[in-house]
């Protein structure tokens, strides 16, 4: 994956979430965004996902500049899988139906073909036992794994995960992180926002540190974590280690 951000700005009610965020990554498989809360990492991820429109600046994914009009965005979103912090499964649908909806409605697959694809993904992650359960009867970890399966089922070019473990108990965090690991091992391209530093250094090709609406540093995790250049990253890392 190739990702290029040029002076991306986005403000909410005169508060700058992103202020001239720029960076360029080549031959990237997994990018992890870290940084203090409110620093702009989720906003950046949502812009790449096509769920938020920047006030100015441009985002180029794999040589293609994202066009931020609604019609193009619908197509853009179909190429991308998104996993949210709070799962966001559709509560009125079973786990299986949650996977079928993007396949049949957004991508126009036939019902039988969609069913095959969905059941295949579910069984690949040992979730087939939950296929007919509604989200309310699933644990947080199961919900998040179903949500990841839903993001994967349409074979997106890129998977975006926005703090996928922040709403989970520590034991459930593990089962979700293992699944993300597996995605990485399968060679899926992903961008991940996380507070799990140990996981970040294990799973990332590149880490970008975002604070005050800017990408202050980026690089391979080993380098970035051992020799932080900016004082912001130094404070951030020392706080994270103390946690």
């Amino acid at each position: 994956m190739k990702l290029e951000l040029n002076k991306v700005c986005r403000s909410f009610d005169s508060r700058h979430a992103l202020l001239d965020a720029s960076a360029s990554f080549e031959k990237l498989q997994s990018l992890v965004l870290i940084g203090p809360s409110g620093g702009g990492k989720s906003t950046l991820l949502r812009i790449i996902a096509g769920l938020e429109t920047p006030d100015s600046g441009s985002v180029i994914v794999n040589e293609k500049r994202i066009a931020f009009d609604e019609a193009s965005l619908v197509l853009h979103r179909r190429d991308i899988g998104v996993v949210f912090q709070s799962f966001n499964l559709f509560p009125h649908l079973t786990a299986l139906e949650n996977l079928l909806l993007p396949l049949t409605v957004a991508h126009g697959h036939s019902k039988t073909h969609a069913r095959d694809l969905a059941l295949h993904i579910l069984s690949r992650f040992s979730l087939e036992g939950h296929a007919n359960q509604k989200p309310t009867s699933l644990s947080g970890g199961q919900k998040q794994r179903i949500a990841i399966a839903r993001a994967l089922v349409t074979q997106p070019k890129l998977i975006l995960l926005d703090e996928p473990t922040s709403a989970l108990d520590p034991e459930m965090t593990n089962e979700v992180l293992e699944m993300v690991d597996e995605l990485r091992n399968q060679g899926r391209e992903l961008i991940l926002v996380t507070h799990e530093m140990a996981f970040a250094s294990r799973a990332a090709d590149q880490v970008a540190f975002i604070a005050d609406g800017r990408i202050l540093e980026s690089g391979p995790p080993g380098e970035l974590f051992s020799t932080p250049r900016t004082p912001q990253l130094q404070t951030f890392l020392s706080k994270e280690i103390r946690r």
């Binding site: 769920l51 998104v82 009125h92 409605v105 957004a106 839903r150």
Partner: protein
Amino acid sequence: MSKLTLLFNRTLVLRERQEGATRAQLWINAALVLLIGIALGGFALKRANLSWQWDLLTPYWRLYLDGWKTTLTLSACSLLTSAVIGVTLALSRRSRILPLRYAAVCVVEFIRSTPLLVQIYILFYIGAEAVHLENRFIAGTITLSLFSGAYISEIVRSGIEGVGKSQIESAKAIGLTRFQTYRHVIFPQALRASLPSLAGQFVSLVKDSSLLSIIGLNELTQSARNVASFTFSNFESYLVLAAGYCICTVPLSLWARGLENRMRYET
């Protein structure tokens, strides 16, 4: 004595943390309430010194039946049209086209803040007159549908707004268009959430249809009025009227109650 009080308490009062009445409690207390009701009613009737003359009504059973049928068809038609109007108004109120949005606000607020009686007069003597609509049934259906549609639109709107932003966001994220989001994500959830209130509104609609008798529509209330004036037996004819409405509304109420209970277990 204290044993008796205890027995009373056990039978009449739910114990703390007791979820619902036992079968015995249900029967005993239901019978008790019924008895008290009959006693009060009997006492009032005795004091009012009424003499019942039910047999006076029998020649007019056909009139009642016709009226009842009209009320039933009128309610059924209005129920359908008001649902369509309600959804249309609710969507218009959320539309990005401002004239549409403000028009919907005006219509809904006007209807909700004026008596149905006035609306019936306005629509029949001005609206229907203007377009040369002489069919009272159609004019009545339109009036009742508009009236009920305004209330339904508010129910539907709160149902739609009850569907969380995160739901709409994930619908976007999986690549649904705005229309697909409404069709597959918002409406199914909004409908489920607003079904109990909708059923309640439909019960009101059936009863509100009685006001259409003022434009001379021969529905159940009009029949009862006629019978009352032929026979001078007001109470008898109106009690039959009440029973006629109950036949339509009680099943609706029970259905609503059933839905409410089911919803409670699902969430």
